[in-house]
Symmetry: C2
Subunit: 147 residues, 2 copies
DNA sequence: CGCTACCAGGCTGCGCTACATCCCGACGCG
DNA sequence: CGCGTCGGGATGTAGCGCAGCCTGGTAGCG
């Protein structure tokens, strides 16, 4: 368990181009999916640029899997995503995913704090800190989000 | 359990028109699906007419569910059907279906034999008998299949 | 200067749907 | 028993509508 590190860099925010590289998609596809999947809703900064977080990237990967590997239509994938999100705790052995809560280690100084044996409590703290930072940055519309 | 009686009459063979009424589909759709799904392969009698059996109707219903309710593409539904058929015994709690073996009570004299408490052994025997009859009829190309 | 946003339109293939044509089996009739 | 008729089925080809992606144009931002 611990951090899901499927080649997703240790950053908190991603621009659309980065997400495209990570997920091997095209920007217009991501924008199209965003218009079709309510659960894919990246935040936007003051200038309107999309700000993807890790869970958005997970969502993109899941959508891609549903569409291209499992062979769902957009409508079917949307429904499936919804029921998956709804039945979190119900249907104990649903499909595969919904693995666990995601731990998100932040950046450099976070790693500095996190020296020593990997402790679950410490990881949780780091994650909370990262989430707070996210919220801060989102609130601070004047502040630059340059990763 | 016992016989799955989802409004499927107690017959062994069905013509395409009957299947269409039972499953609320169109003949050309059934023929099209047949060209796309290897697992939907009804036998044909001497004059080339399709002879659907109960399991074919089950397959039709499953395909319909996958396409129209769950939102799969044809390719996705095909893949799903294959993995479902393959993993019969693996993946203990897969989706819903693959309920059990289907008991197939045949026709009048069969019902006459099957008097008394519903016995699994008797049901199995009846099914075997029905299957044998099926094979006989398919082999006997001269004999009419008039249901 | 590159990356991004947004909009409008175009394009391709999936999944039917609609003919056209032929064949077969069931039924009544003499 | 053969015969005509008639409805259902088989096959093939062609067309249609839309989901889902792709392109181009214009503009803003860093």
């Amino acid at each position: 368990m611990s951090t899901q590190d499927r080649r997703i860099p240790n950053k908190l925010f991603f621009k659309i181009g980065e997400v495209c590289e990570l997920t091997d998609t095209q920007p217009y596809v991501l924008r199209y999916w965003e218009s079709e999947f309510p659960s894919l809703a990246p935040a936007k900064n003051s200038s309107g640029q999309r700000i993807y977080r890790r869970r958005d990237i997970e969502t993109v990967l899941r959508i891609k899997q549903l569409l291209y590997e499992e062979g769902f239509t957009i409508a079917g994938a949307k429904k499936k995503l919804e029921t998956e999100a709804a039945g979190k705790g119900a249907t104990p052995s649903s499909e595969a995913a919904l693995a666990a809560a995601d731990g998100a280690v932040a950046d450099d100084d976070a790693a500095a704090i996190a020296e020593g044996k990997p402790d679950l409590t410490r990881e949780a703290l780091l994650e909370v800190r990262a989430e707070l930072r996210e919220i801060l940055t989102l609130l601070d519309r004047g502040g630059k989000i340059t990763n």
